[in-house]
């Protein structure tokens, strides 16, 4: 049996993968061009569902970009060698996903040509404006961190740089959660639990993405992941998944306790059609229960199970964000509490939303950008984890 395909074949496969990634990116850019040309009329978004599929992709990528850095933090800040050797890869993934997510967010603007306005006019009370600084600062901090790790003369600085990144990503994910926390009148949002929830969720999703990429790299290089490292990382991911589920459950349970919120909870968890379906089947079952079974059941827990669990967690992440972002807007605003309202502008009615092809292309274009940066980065620089002969 040939276990190692010839080098030439791998070379070709690499270029084919890069070409495929490039094609996805091009499709995303074309979709953005169409959206600018025709306006958002060609998307499923409207005056009630103002943020749609592009935001689901963008927020997934941004949250995960922060969470994947957990791997480096455990290495640099908490000094665990098994994670330390993986820190550069985590840094690369973070930059890649941040770039993908921000590109999607930017290209979905009504006037993406005015990005320079966003860079030169700051409204100090706007959390969006803060995030512009947080995201660009994150890029810079991670680049410096990578430099201190990969340039031997700078190695002694990698711990403080790692600490900076550690703090920065907490603030960044807090900032992302706060975007929703500050929406006082929307029943799905406007609660202080969102920033910590986003942080814990980011740990789980970041770990899942890291597992997928690490598995791919190891398979590509015919390496086998050390069983001890595998077990530790798998268990950590399991803990994060449980913690994230706990936060999501707390969010819904507190809502259910408030009489003014029960209608909203009934909608999102029972009567809302696609939203409860995605929540229970997509997020709870596929995104949590199945992965936990694959991680902790003694019959599973091997390389392939962990890979499948990670993919399911990622799917669950998209499901949760779809329910949170789009389902949260679909539920009508309570403008006149105590009254049944109706109007030509969707007052009192559930908002309708069907994602359109251009939006979906734009979202996948962002994933394509993350893929390209990761694939090319690993090819040209040394990001592959080097296991020490003996793991502590």
């Amino acid at each position: 049996m040939i276990s190692r395909p010839p080098l030439q074949f791998k070379d070709r496969l690499f270029y084919a993968l890069v070409a495929a990634g490039g094609l996805v990116v091009l499709m995303g850019l074309y979709a953005a061009h169409m959206m600018e040309e025709h306006g958002h009329i060609i998307t499923g978004m409207n005056n009630q569902i103002v943020w749609g599929t592009p935001h689901v992709f963008a927020i997934f990528l941004i949250i995960t970009a922060s969470g994947v850095l957990n791997v480096s933090s455990i290495g640099s800040v908490f000094n665990k060698p098994a994670y330390k050797t993986r820190a550069p890869l985590a840094g690369l993934l973070s930059i890649a996903m941040l770039a993908g997510g921000l590109t999607v967010l930017m290209l979905d603007l009504g006037r993406p040509d005015r990005i320079i306005v966003a860079a030169t006019h700051y409204n100090p009370t706007s959390v969006f404006a803060w995030n512009i600084l947080l995201y660009s600062g994150m890029f810079a901090a991670v680049v410096v961190y990578l430099w201190t790790m990969m340039e031997q003369r700078m190695n002694s600085w990698s711990r403080p740089a790692g600490f900076l990144v550690f703090i920065w990503r907490f603030i960044l994910t807090t900032g992302t959660g706060v975007i929703f926390s500050f929406l006082v009148a929307r029943q799905a949002y406007g609660t202080a639990i969102l920033p910590p929830m986003f942080i814990v969720i980011s740990f789980a999703w970041g770990m899942a993405v890291f597992h997928v990429v690490q598995s791919a790299i190891y398979a590509w290089n015919n390496k086998i992941l050390d069983e001890y490292v595998q077990k530790r990382m798998r268990n950590l991911m399991g803990v994060f998944v449980i913690a994230a589920l706990y936060f999501v459950a707390t969010y819904h349970l507190t809502n259910m306790y408030f009489a003014r919120q029960t209608e909203f909870e009934r909608f999102i968890l029972i009567t809302g059609g696609v939203y409860p379906l995605l929540f229970w089947v997509g997020y709870v079952l596929i995104g949590n229960l199945l992965p936990l079974l694959l991680i902790y059941h003694p019959a599973f827990g091997k390389t392939r199970s962990v890979l499948v669990a990670s993919l399911l967690i990622i799917f669950g992440g998209f499901s949760l964000l779809y329910v949170f972002i789009i389902g949260g807007q679909a539920f009508p605003l309570s403008i006149f509490p105590g009254f049944e309202a109706s109007s030509s502008f969707g007052d009192g009615a559930i908002g309708l939303y069907n994602p359109s092809i251009p939006e979906i292309f734009l979202g996948f274009g962002g994933v394509g950008i993350s893929f390209l940066i990761t694939a090319i980065g690993i090819r040209v620089l040394d990001f592959v984890p080097h296991e020490k002969p003996k793991s502590p």
Partner: protein, 243 residues
């Protein structure tokens, strides 16, 4: 020596005269175009008091007038508004869930004193004038729609399609957010907003909330009026009577 001086003086006089003749009409036109150069002042706070008891069920005159004044397509006879169409003012039909009482009222930007849309806008495109009118600067809006997420009154619309036949007084733009301007272009020239003028029952009373002698202030002192979602503490410029 002397003759040179005279010539120089003559030249200066002629050129000054010519310059004055060239610039004066421009200055005059500039003044005419800009009208009063007086700045908007916070001594004024524009507001409205809407009497829902007089607002007729099925009457849409304020909406039609707004669409016409501001060049919004919603006024077309074909009807059938889509969820992507801009609506700066809309009629909302309400039914009390306990008693079953029904009422009808116009809903638009409430021109809050503490507007959430202004707080969240990343570029400062959403802003409040000194006289309390909340507007969007169409040159600064990047179309992120965060203000639409933040508005408790669903008052804002996003321009989803290219625009044609815009009104010169009412700038709009594809890919930007817009909402009721309280007909700022009319107010600045001493007129009333189009909806207030069009209401057949005079249910929309427009005026200066800061002037104790204005009709609106006097009425607010004598009748019970509310702010919609007063619990949010936004201190709206639009007040309702009879809800």
């Amino acid at each position: 020596m002397n003759s040179i001086d005279t010539r120089r003086r003559g030249f200066l006089k002629t050129s000054l005269g010519a310059a004055a003749v060239a610039i004066a009409p421009g200055m005059l036109l500039f003044d005419m175009a800009h009208g009063k150069s007086e700045a908007v002042s916070s001594k004024v706070r524009w507001g409205m008091l809407i009497d829902t008891a007089n607002c007729a069920d099925g009457c849409n005159d304020c909406v039609t007038a707004c669409n016409k004044e501001n060049g919004l397509a919603g006024g077309s006879s074909s009807g059938g508004l889509s969820p992507t169409d801009s609506q700066w003012i809309r009629k909302v039909e309400l039914k009390d869930m306990r008693g079953g009482r029904t009422l009808s009222l116009p809903m638009m930007c409430q021109h809050c004193e503490n507007p959430p849309c202004v707080d969240v806008c990343p570029t400062g495109a959403s802003f409040k004038r000194a006289d309390g009118i909340v507007l969007v600067d169409k040159h600064l809006c990047i179309g992120c729609r965060y203000c639409m997420m933040a508005c408790p009154y669903k008052a804002r619309s996003f321009v989803h399609e290219p625009l044609h036949d815009q009104k010169p007084d009412v700038p709009r733009g594809k890919g930007t957010v817009e909402s009721c301007t309280m007909c700022v272009h009319r107010v600045d020239s001493g007129q009333q907003p189009a909806c207030a003028e069009a209401c057949p029952n005079k249910s929309i009373l427009f005026g200066n909330l800061n002037d104790p002698d204005s009709e609106i202030s006097k009425k607010i002192r004598t009748v019970a009026s509310i702010q919609v979602r007063a619990d949010l503490g936004l201190n709206t410029g639009i007040r309702y009577q009879g809800i």
